[in-house]
Symmetry: C3
Subunit: 244 residues, 3 copies
């Protein structure tokens, strides 16, 4: 049994946390929480979405693995009007979605056909930057007009995003007073802009307070939460090793 | 002689009633009214536009059959600015269109080259639904993300729009209190979404109160009026027979 | 040495004066002014941009010829947020661009690789029309839905823009009271809509008061200024000879 009611726009934001990175994902439900973990095809970026029971107005669930076609689900949620609630229910192996007068039966994917999630790496990272999501969104968008890779780092009490194209170079620096928090050591890691572009583009990312945990040539952890911390998003992106 | 003055935006809305379905149409004028009847190439959907003399600020006309390239006329009317009046005049076998400082001479098409209009069928339909055009617009748009055909029907004192894709199913239900009026028997007919998508997309449709007359596996009549009933639009769409 | 600070949006508007016509241009700086002259590949349209020292908050410069990739510069300036100032500085043969926390090093092009500017013709034209840029913008946009060439002229104390397509004809007339100024003789010259479409599309053009100087089958001069006349734009477009 799975039966839940939630603000449609909020649910759309939660689904988008995953859909910016992959097309299909398993939503694992139990009595307390829905968790979706997914990894993009090249295994270089991973997402973990956690929606607590409290994020929902109504929530009752046994343990289920729901295989979701995220594009199709997004299309349905796009039909919502501002303020609509969405009712979700597992019915005859389909996800019944009810919003206003609209009733949609979404076929579920066989979970065994969806890419397996590797174990989430337990990593401790030496630097932490807390900043408005919209600032990161803007910087990554700017960087992607210049190059294919971007370095994120901390030095001189500042956080920077840096990219080099064939001829031009862009550096975006935020001092301590332009950040919400900055802790830890000097670090620098290089990432593919493709993944960062995808991760930063969602509406919830742009509206949120984002925590970046960075190391030296090490994976980055990018996290934010919304709906009073009842919905949490975590991305882990593998680094590129810089050519010497 | 044909000479008429009308609010440019209103005239654009009237022209769009026809242009959503066909590219060319005959506008038949006489002393009292302009009527344009047109049928789309597959003969499955028909439109009848009626503009009464009173819809115009100035209107003087003999009987004429004006062959109109609707795309070209729409492009001209798109040049209007809010509040512009448009003056229309038949001059040297062209339609002279004057708006503000702009003067456009639109070539007329030879009416004999435009697809013939079949006789408008006289049909009585057992159910009638009256509803906001914007609600139908939204439901048809949603349906077209799922399938190619859509069933419109009445059952249990409710009006429904239903469509099935390869795997998913969408049903949009409006109860009596969400409708302006609902009369008659239980009915259900299936239509190609292409035609309904075209018909419902115009601005005037979305702003209007729409009457749907529905039968059992029978054509549908879709009508609305605007400019205080001085401009009337009627569509008749042939049904698809449902596969058993 | 070249070092200048200016409102980012204003600088974007100035760059666009040139970029609507060509992709690369030389910005020649000296102690008092930046001038950029460029001609489009077919030699039929030319632009001269002049930015006085006073348009800048800070301006210090020796004589330099800076070869600018205008598309790349526009992309950088698009990263500005409303109210941002942009600092420009010549550094290691690159143009350093600083806006907020963003620092961009723009490679300069070798001026010898950029199309040579022919001598600017000294021409006196018999008629002068002064009019809102937005009106010309709208008329040229309308004309380009009809034909490929457009005649600009003066007759009967009015300014007109006229174009003919295969079947239709559009004429846009502005009387003396709809113009800011109208002086001189009756004139008429024909131009390619491509150039006029490009020239009129910039934001600064649409916001400005534009002076058109017109002759009989002769080049047209189109000029406007902004930032309290501290930035000046002049276009000269060669005429097409009308088929008799």
């Amino acid at each position: 049994m799975f039966k839940a009611t939630i603000d449609a726009e909020l649910f759309k934001d939660a689904v988008d946390v995953v859909s910016v990175l992959v097309d299909e994902s398993i939503f694992s439900t139990d009595e307390e929480v829905i968790i979706s973990k997914a990894v993009e095809p090249a295994n270089a970026a991973m997402v973990i979405l956690e929606m607590k029971k409290d994020a929902f107005d109504i929530y009752e669930s046994d343990s289920h693995d729901l295989g979701i076609d995220l594009k199709r689900l997004s299309t349905v949620l796009d039909m919502a009007q501002r303020g609509d609630m969405v009712e979700l229910e597992l019915e005859d192996h389909k996800l019944k979605i009810v919003m206003g007068g609209l009733r949609y039966h979404l076929s579920l994917l066989d979970p065994s056909t969806i890419r397996k999630i590797p174990k989430v790496p337990q990593i401790q990272l030496p630097a932490k930057v807390v900043v408005d999501g919209s600032t990161i969104q803007r910087a990554i968008k700017a960087a992607s007009t210049v190059g294919s890779y971007v370095a994120l780092g901390v030095e001189d009490e500042s956080f920077y995003i840096e990219t080099e194209g064939d001829t031009d170079k862009l550096r975006f620096v935020l001092g301590k007073d332009e950040l919400i928090d900055l802790q830890g050591d000097d670090v620098r890691s290089l990432f593919s802009l493709d993944y960062l572009r995808s991760i930063t583009k969602s509406r919830a990312f742009g509206r949120g307070i984002v925590t970046l945990e960075i190391g030296i040539d090490y994976p980055i952890k990018i996290s934010f939460s919304f709906a009073d911390d009842k919905i949490k998003a975590l991305y882990i992106v593998a680094p590129r090793v810089e050519a010497v």
